[in-house]
Each structure stands twice: as C-alpha cells, then as structure tokens.
Assembly symmetry: none
Homo-oligomer: 253 residues x 2
C-alpha cells in the first residue's frame, strides 16, 4: 500500500479519512467518472483493485479535471491490501440483504460512519460492473450499503453509485466552512399589505374590474393572494408603484 | 408537447408527476446516462430542449437498459414548451445564489416538492454541460437547486447531477401505495405564469412603469413575484382579468 493514502492531517475529517475502493473495474471510463464524482464531493483517495485497464485515455477523459485523483490513485492486487489500514470497511451491494451483515441505505451508512471517530481510515468498496462484490470480498466489510432504486430497474452505473455515496458522505461530514447564507430580505409588513390591498381595490374599481357594491369573492381572493404568499417589502413596493403608474396613466388621458 | 407526459393516473405520485428537462445537451452520452439515472430512481419522463444530437447511438449505449425512457423522451424547441403544464419548475445551478430566487440543496428541494400537492406536473431543469441555464431560462423556475460540492471542484457531470436529484426525489416521494391526492385547487401552470408575466410587462410598459429598453431589475423581480408565491390557477386568472380591465379602461379614454 502506498503511503499516499496514509498521510493524514492530525485532525482529519470524515472526507479525508475515507477512501473509495473499486474492485476489478472493467471500463476505464467508469474509473475516470468515479474520480470526478468523488472529487466533486471533496473525497480524494481512490484505490483500484486489479483494474482491467489503468491508466487509460478514457479514464482521463471522463475524469474531466479530476486528473489529480487519478494520478494519486493507488493500484493494488487484493482487496485485503486496499483496506489494510481501514478500521471501517463498508461494501456496496444491489442485493437487499446478504450473508449476515446489516444492509443500510447510503444516508444511514454515512451518518454511522461519521460517528465512528475511532477509525482513522474508512473504505467504501464498489464491486465489478456486472457482478458486484463476491461473498469473500463482502466478508471484509462491517456493513453494506444498498442504494434504493426502482423495483423494476436497479441497474445503477458504477460511477453513479460512487456519486450517490460520495454525496451522502459529504452531507454527513461536518461542514468545512459555513454554508452560504441566503440573503434575508424582509417581508412586507401588515400595514404595507393592507395599503396594497386598499390601493388595488381602488384601482380595480376605477377600471371597472371590481364593483364595490357587488364585490362577490374578489376581495377575499385578493387578500389571500397578497397575504398568502409571503410577499417581500420590495415586492409590495413594486406593486404599489405599478398601481400608481396606472392611476397616472388614466388621469393623463 | 406530446401527451406522453400528461397521461397521469388520477392519484399520481411525486415520481410520476416529475419530469426531467435537459436544455441543449451537447453530448448524447449524457442524455443516455441521464435516462438511466432517472429510471433507476423510478422517474420516467425525460424532456429534451434542442439536444445537439438525438436520437444517437451513444445515448442508447449509455442508457444501458433505459431505452424505454429514451424512446418516450419528448423533444421540444423551447423551455417554455417543456414546462408548459408544470405548476412547479425547479432549475439547477452551480451558483450559490442567483437573481432573487431561493437556492436550496436537493434534499430540501425534494421535500418541498413532495409537499406541493397543488401541482399536477413538476419539472426539474438542467442546463448545458458548460454553461448551465441562462438567466432567461432561470426565470421560468420558482426555485433552484444547487448540489453541494467541494469548494475547489464543483464540476459535476450532467448525468451525475441528474442522478443526485433523482435519488433525492425518490427518497422524498411518499411510498407508491400512498400517493397523495392532488389538492383541489390547482396551482397556475408554467404557461399561465408566462402569459401573466408577459401581460403584466405589456401593461406596465403601456402605463410607463416599465421601460423595455432599460428594464433594470423589474423583470427579474416580477418573475420572482409571480413565480415564487405558488400562485393558484384562479389567482392567475384574477390578475389577468385585472390587467385586461386596465387595458380596456385605457383604450376607452
């Protein structure tokens, strides 16, 4: 095992501690796509057990900028080597259950893994495109992930499965930095809403759309329309401005 | 728009009601991989806006068994056509925020969408591989999804982005046996919202409130105002009626 997987900072995060292991991948394009998938989610370690063809131009093409992940990828002969330092090894399977291991969805597995602070190294292991992992290989795993799929079409591409697991790993990992805050724009006040409704009614009456003596359901609907949608202060101002412009246009003519 | 997207059972599930829209996809392989991705998660509707090449052998190869999704895919010329019947349109973006729309992670967006029983049809819209969606296209959307990624490598492949969103949609969907009844009062459709916005702009221009040659931020704000509040069909009709009455009053004078 190369040391490239092992040079961890003293307080490594879940993403830094987790390696993605691909066993006997047939298509080099899938290796490249997997590299891209894991890099987008902040994972960095890729370990390849007996890939059919690697390095390969198709892998580099599909990595699409994740070349560094491919360049650092470690190629080994056995799964035992790939997971040698790992305190936690999680397999992946399309079967609803296998052997005696707990089979969990990726979200639960990621949350579980995030809580296992005792393991310096973790592995998620993906099997062959056609046949997955053998029972012998699954015996290396403390648990297995099964990604929920449609009952009639469970054929997830390898890199897509890597993407979903990497995505859940990222969400389960403690944040690197505070997420971008959505700008908080104030909602319109009750007084602004009441003023808007009164103005709209006046203009509606003026153009003959509302008959104040027989309003029917329009006032109720107008109140719900204005009050029910969490109108922002700036939006209420836009509507008031529009109504005023209508009033002026009618006065000018 | 073909009827293939519209023949919904009376109690359609979230997955049955949601279409995946790909705008001007360059690589047919991505269309095939997207078809496979959505089928694994139980989605069935794929709509393609001006794909560079479709049908294509590469699309079929990458669909890998999801040929039926490709065969049923609807090809249209404009995004407006793609989302015409949709009460909810959700864009996707790599930007942390844009215009005035709420940008949410896929999980929150899926949970929100699952709760919107007023919309018979929903769309998730994915832009071009290199440049995403234009601002004009994002104006069709009531909100946008941004998939969380590593800060230094946010380059998600298109089909991978589809996979993650489809996965979250599947997890958020109520079990198929318990499909929610659609709310009795439907939301306005995309076509109704587009018509309302166009009408409002015309009337605003007529009364001098909007200068079409120097619109500044008004079109964006109008789009958010109309599209962001989950306007009901009946409410859109009220607003159209009011605008028509203004037009008539101006014509009479």
């Amino acid at each position: 095992m190369s040391t490239s997987c092992n040079d961890l900072p003293p307080c490594a995060t879940l993403l830094e501690r987790t390696r993605i292991v691909l066993v006997e991948t047939s298509h080099p394009g899938n290796i490249g796509a997997a590299a891209r998938a894991l890099k987008t989610m902040g994972l960095r370690q890729l370990v390849l057990v007996r890939p059919r063809q690697f390095p390969a131009a198709e892998a580099t093409a599909r990595a699409s900028g994740a070349d560094d992940i491919l360049a650092q990828a470690v190629v080994v002969d056995t799964l035992a080597q790939a997971v040698a330092e790992c305190g936690i090894v999680i397999g992946t399977t399309a079967r609803p259950r296998y052997l005696e291991w707990p089979v969990t969805p990726p979200r639960e597995a990621a949350e579980w893994a995030a809580a296992q602070t005792g393991a310096a190294h973790l592995a998620i292991v993906f099997g062959r495109e056609q046949t997955g992992l053998s029972n012998d290989e699954l015996r290396f795993c403390q648990r297995a992930i099964r990604i929920p799929t449609a009952a009639d079409f469970s054929s997830l591409n390898l890199a897509q499965a890597v993407q979903i697991c990497a995505y859940e790993w990222r969400l389960a990992a403690p944040p690197e930095a505070a997420a971008a805050q959505l700008a908080s724009e104030p909602l319109a006040t009750g007084a602004e809403l009441a003023g808007l409704i009164a103005h709209a009614k006046a203009t509606m009456t003026r153009v003959g759309y509302l008959n104040p003596t027989r309003p029917q359901r329009l006032p109720d609907r107008l109140a719900r329309l204005v009050g029910g949608g969490q109108l922002r202060h700036s939006e209420a101002q836009i509507l008031r401005g529009f109504l005023s412009a209508i009033d002026e246009a009618l006065a000018d003519l």
